[in-house]
Symmetry: C2
Subunit: 265 residues, 2 copies
Amino acid sequence: MADALRRNNVKVIGDPGRPVVMFAHGFGCSQEAWSLVALRFESDHCVVLFDHVGAGGSDSSAYDRSKYDSLDGYATDVLEILEALDVTDVVFVGHSVSAMIGVLAANRDPSRFRGLVLVGPSPRYTDEDGYEGGFRREDIDAMLDALDANYLGWSQATAPVIMGRPDRPELGQRLTDSFCSIDPEIARHFARVTFLSDNRTDLPLVCVPTLVLQCREDAIAGESVGRYVHAAIRTSRFALLDATGHVPNLSAPDEVADQILAFVA
Amino acid sequence: MADALRRNNVKVIGDPGRPVVMFAHGFGCSQEAWSLVALRFESDHCVVLFDHVGAGGSDSSAYDRSKYDSLDGYATDVLEILEALDVTDVVFVGHSVSAMIGVLAANRDPSRFRGLVLVGPSPRYTDEDGYEGGFRREDIDAMLDALDANYLGWSQATAPVIMGRPDRPELGQRLTDSFCSIDPEIARHFARVTFLSDNRTDLPLVCVPTLVLQCREDAIAGESVGRYVHAAIRTSRFALLDATGHVPNLSAPDEVADQILAFVA
């Protein structure tokens, strides 16, 4: 099971006897995306960072299309990492698609989790009768087609939008670089799994304290989606950040850290 | 005064005896940005399209730094075009910075205007005590510095964010191409004039019927800014579009055309 630690390039910072906070990155990112936030936890907490298989310093040879054909495969990895570290009472902080990965993991083994922090979560990106995910199915299909046809071009045009900070183009560039560092084959599959996922029925099953952190002017997960998540999780609180865009862990790390620290306390 | 028609590459489509609708483009664009919307007006209206000096097919040699050191210079051009065409009762549709240019023109000569349509307007981009423009002054300064240092790089990182359509990367690419086609020297100056403008005191002077069209998840002019504009213009209506991003004339032309047609009628 210690294989999980190597497979997911797990980094543990601080004494595991302290309160454990695990940070999980979103599509196109790696644990690097959490470094500025994690810094604020290193003196008083045990920080657990990792890369999803295919990202950052993970073992890409462990990428198994059938395992990762749904978000459940990623949730399995999270539980294996926690088991390998033998930690419980973990606060899991998940950005974007990792918010739903955390929901799935916490529902499978609530005993491991003290709480969830969902940053920019969306349980379903496509609209459906009575549900507004923000995207029409045909638009998601067109996006995935564009990604298939030219991953690097797609990344250059899309990562800055996801960042959503016209005033700080270097942030968009940083996210573009991160997108472009992923194996295109894996990125294509992970994008499909992410953007076609539907985890709405998993939300009411969450029984651990949960904090929903919502950004303004988020082109990926708009405010109504975040409020839907909050409404569907009985045990949740909702906080609207001042941060704009979809990646506040990079663009507003202090505001995100402040919110998580207050939740953990 | 017919010089104005050549200087601003004015195109008139349809009989000037019909109701006149003039479309004005925003920063980094040209009259091309209105083509899909304008199509919907060509059978029943007289459509007036033009390029601000420095953009599209305009006469860039007419770019005069002192004239265009404020938005008033651009408002002068609008009034000169209307005078050259000898038209009145014009509905002026302005996107982004051209929304404020329309406000200035209509305040200087209300007799020319039947109404204003302000698409994604912002009277001031920077925050100030008691006013939330969406950007801190230091962030705008950093953006302008990045633009000065590398206009093409800045355009590639910023235009897609302004478009705000992660599901349609080709739209972000189209806006990037448009940004990159502008003379960098003129773009630098126009960006400075645009992003450091403050036209809040001009809004209460508007006396013609006005429609404010606001997008969702707009990284440049957020909903609270659009609502500020609506609150400050007595004669205005406010409509929240389904469209996301800052350039609905390109990303949701039919929704924009429907709104303008209903307003004109």
